[in-house]
Symmetry: C3
Subunit: 318 residues, 3 copies
């Protein structure tokens, strides 16, 4: 188990071994979450700043709880009330947080690459909590953690990601994580939202939902972001549900032990039937629980990574 990185920016640049390190560390932290006292002193006296330039209550709360359970101090900094409105650049905002001795800056931003940009000049650790349509690496790791916990081994599994692939940072990060660990990934959805170019990432692309789900071990549904979905991408929500929604009828055609995943928040009756979301095969709430453990692992590791001499891997004991 080894980790030398100061920042946690994406899955694309991680090795399979590094991904496994995060998952193993998260496993240890998940056990902490099951104790009566869920706090460990790993980051006592450290400051974690949630710099959320794009709003996200769920991910922010998950990181906030993860930091609290590591005994860190947490500051929430949202764009709404911030100097960014007064014309300050993102770089200046981040350097100010660094000047306040922030040890870790968790960044959510609507611009792809924003965390990478910040990581180039900050001494604070930068953690990507979702950047534009690029990556959402902790989401991919919590998905992978959930699959691994349920199935033991990722290699060889057939994972179908269903929905809006084109604009989804969740899909991109999942594709990287799953293919690095040896899973076979199928992408499915409306042709406007699932371009063939994704085949270059080693995925199968299909527009036939029945074939996409028939032999899948895992089906990961993406949220249809109907509050901001591009009008031109598909005719209507009803049409989407009819063609690609995971209905009870479609579930009947899947493997009996298929796992149903969804990053949330769920649109019941749109991309998934309500009783499928709540059914025995759904691991949607397990994903939420595992997200906390994965984020504790990431915060813990980047903090250690910062303290490790360059080029030398730290051996970690949680």
């Amino acid at each position: 188990m080894s980790w030398t990185r100061q920042h946690f920016l994406d899955i694309e640049s991680l090795s399979a071994e590094e991904i496994i390190t995060v998952l193993d560390t998260a496993k240890a932290f998940k056990q902490v979450g099951e104790r009566a006292i869920k706090t460990v002193p790993a980051l006592r006296g450290k400051t974690v700043v949630n710099l959320f330039v794009e709003p996200s209550t769920r991910t922010r709360i998950s990181f906030e709880l993860a930091a609290q359970r590591l005994s860190a101090d947490v500051i929430n900094f949202s764009a709404d009330a911030s100097s960014l409105k007064k014309g300050e650049t993102l770089k200046d905002t981040a350097r100010n947080l660094e000047a306040l001795n922030a040890d870790i800056i968790v960044v959510r931003h609507s611009a792809s690459g924003a965390p990478h940009f910040l990581s180039r000049f900050l001494k604070s650790s930068v953690v990507n909590a979702g950047d534009g349509a690029h990556e959402h690496p902790t989401q991919a790791l919590l998905d992978t953690f959930t699959i691994r916990e349920r199935r033991g081994e990722i290699a060889g599994l057939k994972v179908t990601i269903l929905g809006d692939i084109l604009y989804s940072r969740v899909a991109r990060s999942n594709i990287w994580a799953l293919t690095k660990l040896g899973a076979k990934v199928t992408l499915c959805g409306p042709p406007t939202l699932v371009p063939r170019v994704f085949e270059q990432l080693g995925c199968r692309v299909t527009y036939d939902v029945d074939s996409a789900i028939a032999d899948a071990d895992i089906i990961n549904l993406l949220r249809i972001q109907h509050e901001r979905q591009r009008k031109t991408m598909f005719p209507s929500l009803g049409e989407y549900t009819s063609l690609f929604g995971l209905t009870r009828a479609r579930l009947a055609k899947t493997k009996p032990d298929v796992l149903i995943m969804h990053p949330g928040p769920v649109n019941r009756g749109v991309e998934i039937d309500s009783d499928v979301a709540d059914g025995a095969r759904s691991v949607i709430l397990e994903q939420v629980t595992n997200g906390l453990a994965v984020r504790m692992a990431v915060l813990f590791l980047v903090n250690r990574g910062k303290e490790v001499p360059a080029g030398k891997a730290a051996t970690l004991t949680v």
Copy 2:
């Protein structure tokens, strides 16, 4: 002193003995608040989430401070920035918080019954911080605590609640608490806001303010919510003040040791004269201080209640 409940939803379903348990526990916690170090480790490593779907700074801060003083980690989740805006159901939001290992979820919601609904499926404890026009049980207990601290015994006291009874969750919870403990409750206000049906709860209803306050031991004034008050309920604020406001002139006609209460925020010059609010008989700020102790007690008790085997009462020592 005994408590076996996992949730704290309303006063209606509590026994007098349970109410006394909360008040006695709060008394112990009030003493903690007077020490130089006001923190106790009772909920260390536990997570309290304030799920406020209807805004309320005062009650939220009181619960936040109460949780901090019990050494819990606190997360604030307000509807404004939340997934609820993206169409997620309240049930899904709450189950997500539970999946994040929230031990206690404090709920404020504009819909009556929202906390009861959540309590039916959550393993987390649910605490009602005000639901619609239904109940605001911690407010009633802090009012009762204040009366008890000042007068020793609730039974036999004459309490007049004055103002908008119809739409007031504070009034409903107070009526339950006071009548269970043996007080005699009089309701007074404009006939449009004080329907006779409240007599079925064991209260006296009168529209004659002089008779309502003449022999009262306690006068509890309700806030006229003029920013959202239904226009058709009374002609004007000035008319309300003239007919039902607790002016200096009216105060002169009350018992010399009457206690003046108000849940806040106070509309000075509307339901109460400014110098009556600040006068020697007013216990309005004591109510605020006592609210903290009562909320500490409630958080403490529901956490214990969750850990007690069903059907068996825990003996508590604070």
Copy 3:
């Protein structure tokens, strides 16, 4: 080193010795910020409330971190979501916070004198985090701290404050602090924003920027608040930059060891060239770091001041 004040309201009423006490205390706390564990138990079990009636993310976060590092519990109370909107007076809001046992209330308000007003009746300590166009005393002390750390001694230094002096609480507080410690202060900017009346505070006023910066040891640039600047004060941002902006060309005409300061957020290309802001003479980010130490010192001192018998100075060891 002595301090007997319960409140921290302005620089105007402080003696030079008191200013030095804050700076010396801050120096000790700055060293704490450089440790791996940046927390000290000085305010454990105490409650600090940030009562920000005027929004300010930067100052609020600085105070929040300062309080956290002293192990205090922190509550953020912003006007947006508060009872103030429901017509509650500032006095009632503050007395409610006091009733919740708030030990220290940090106030930012758009009205000059708001913290002084609150200090007249609160038992909680009041700290001024900026009041109208009056004072921003912690900003002045962090500026002074930064100068002192770099130059050793304030007395005799030539400090030029450049920009909107008239509406700037930062300027006012800096003038008081610097002149009390023996610096020579020059004010410069458009005549509409730098009235001659400031000469009565012991400052030199000039509208000739070249003369203002030529022999300055420190140039403190004020932010042009273009989002709310009075339209009639100067013709355009471009004209301001051309006449008073600290460009590379102007920097070449200053002393080689001049220090460039700015309270932030910086308008790059308006009051300062981007590479001047990032250049070797700029101490802008040091100011941010020092702000944390100064605010820790202020919170620490007012808490001690409250516990000291009136008329008797406490000897402090940090």
